[in-house]
């Protein structure tokens, strides 16, 4: 379904076009003031006028998001490995994970700043904290869904949990993991922005914070557009990678 076929592309353009057109016309029609909802044309104009500023900020934020995402994925995978090798750990790990997940970022951010300083490190950690959970939950679900017929073969071989994990459970869970990555990708960007929101010296999050506190909504939404574009690119990258890696599913 995800094939980049021409009708799909055309329809995508149509839908996105219609969304933006509706937005533009809605703003015109209701005469919405720019400090409440700016028109897309205005946002794009702002974007192109400040292209270099946004480019730099995007680089910073993207860097934090990607590194944080990788850390988050690693964390999720490590936890799942633990649970898979010692299934008794599952409930305990999940409880602690949900505890971490339930703590609002604003409560952890200062702690991280105190421990890790004002640099990018606390931002990266925040992104990791935000993104590990979908990976953990999805991969665990995939692991637990593994086709019983395959498990039986390995049990008849008296294979170790490690062998089972590596040769059966992980490949079987890959589509689940990719689903998680498609969720975590855009989430990582949002996380990086939220982390920068207070107390960063650069990045889209800071730009957005400044824009919002100045009620400069075109600038805020210009950053949103970049975020969306980056999110869509990350998503497309995941879809593409999945197609190559999980080749046995997309026959």
């Amino acid at each position: 379904m995800s094939r980049l076929d021409s009708t799909g592309c055309a329809l995508a353009l149509l839908i996105v076009g219609a969304t933006f057109l509706g937005w533009e016309l809605g703003v015109q029609f209701f005469q919405a003031p720019v400090y409440i909802l700016p028109a897309p044309s205005r946002i794009l104009a702002t974007l192109s006028a400040n292209a270099s500023v946004y480019a730099l900020a995007t680089l910073i934020t993207l860097g934090e998001a990607v590194v944080g995402l990788l850390l988050g994925i690693l964390g999720g995978v490590i936890l799942v490995s633990l649970i898979s090798l010692w299934p008794g750990l599952e409930q305990g790990v999940m409880i602690v994970a949900i505890l971490v997940k339930s703590t609002p970022l604003v409560a952890i951010a200062p702690l991280l700043t105190i421990w890790l300083g004002f640099g990018v490190l606390p931002k990266v950690v925040l992104v990791a904290v935000l993104t590990f959970f979908p990976v953990l939950v999805n991969m665990l679900s995939g692991i637990q869904a593994t086709e019983p017929a395959l498990l039986e073969v390995f049990r008849s071989w008296h294979a170790s949990q490690r062998e089972l994990f590596r040769h059966v459970r992980v490949p079987y869970a890959l589509p689940y993991v990719f689903a998680a990555l498609k969720v975590s990708g855009p989430l990582a960007l949002v996380g990086a922005v939220v982390a920068e929101w207070t107390g960063a010296s650069g990045g889209l999050g800071r730009l957005m914070w400044l824009a919002y506190t100045n009620l400069n909504l075109p600038q805020l939404f210009a950053a949103v557009f970049i975020l969306a574009l980056a999110g869509i690119s990350l998503y497309a990258l995941m879809v593409y990678t999945e197609r190559r890696i999980v080749f046995w599913q997309h026959r």
């Binding site: 395959l150 073969v153 008849s156 071989w157 040769h167 490949p171 080749f247 046995w248």
Partner: protein, 249 residues
């Protein structure tokens, strides 16, 4: 390995009720004996093999493989089980599927068949690097057979290994298997629906009754090997087994 089964019973609990699959099955199988199992569909043949392969725990009765419980025997990595549906790993090629069996079941003490020889034996040399989902049903089954043979196990628990194969492939594989059996001398439990095949292959044929399955008839096949379908004693044995089986329907 010798296999002793005594008073073995098994009942499944399903969302819709209890299904007794085996009742009071007793069997003695000698070291390197080739035992074929015949029985109507659903009589518990696969369940019996699963119990021996330690994939199910018996609910009553007793199993000993060289004196070991199925769990202990499984730990020795000398049990080879072939499932009724070939459960190949779709993310590995045919060769890797077979090689993996050897990697997870290393047999440092013994010679095991080489992967390439097995591929040739089952006629899949050309498909060594194909992925399972590009194989036909019969080819998948042969790949599964090769994977089980690759274990070099002391006990072969084979669940309808030739069901998806044509007569000729079946016959040629029969010969190859007998050769392997005579080289490695494993104890074989061979579930099949093909009466002729049992007479061609087995030292003894066990006919199971309808569900809940138990041993209805045991018939030693005294014919000398290599056997020939056209030998005078062959067809009478086939007919005799058919009659025994028919008593179950």
């Amino acid at each position: 390995m010798t296999i002793t089964i005594e008073g073995l019973s098994h009942t499944f609990t399903t969302p819709t009720g209890r299904v007794p699959a085996l009742r009071d099955v007793s069997l003695q199988i000698r070291q390197a004996e080739f035992v074929a199992i015949l029985g109507p569909s659903g009589c518990g043949k696969s369940t019996l093999l699963r119990l021996l392969a330690n994939l199910l725990r018996p609910m009553a009765g007793h199993i000993a493989l060289d004196g070991l419980t199925p769990a202990q025997a499984a730990a020795t990595k000398r049990i080879g089980w072939m499932a009724q549906h070939p459960a190949l790993l779709p993310w590995y090629t045919v060769r890797d599927n077979i090689a993996l069996a050897q990697r997870i079941n290393p047999q440092p003490q013994r010679a095991v068949p080489a992967v390439d020889d097995l591929l040739a034996l089952v006629g899949l040399s050309d498909f060594a690097s194909a992925y399972p989902f590009t194989l036909s049903g019969g080819m998948q089954q042969r790949a599964g057979l090769a994977r089980t043979l690759a274990l070099g196990a002391d006990v072969w628990l084979m669940d309808e290994p030739f069901a998806a194969l044509d007569e000729l492939t079946r016959e040629s594989l029969t010969l190859e298997l007998l050769r392997l059996w005579q080289t490695f001398r494993p104890t074989v439990l061979w579930v099949t629906h093909h009466i002729q095949e049992t007479v061609r292959l087995a030292d003894r044929v066990v006919v199971m009754s309808r569900r809940p399955g138990h041993v209805h008839t045991e018939k030693a096949i005294g014919l000398p090997r290599p056997r020939d379908d056209t030998a005078p004693d062959f067809q009478p044995l086939v007919r005799e087994l058919r009659v025994a089986l028919a008593a179950q329907s």
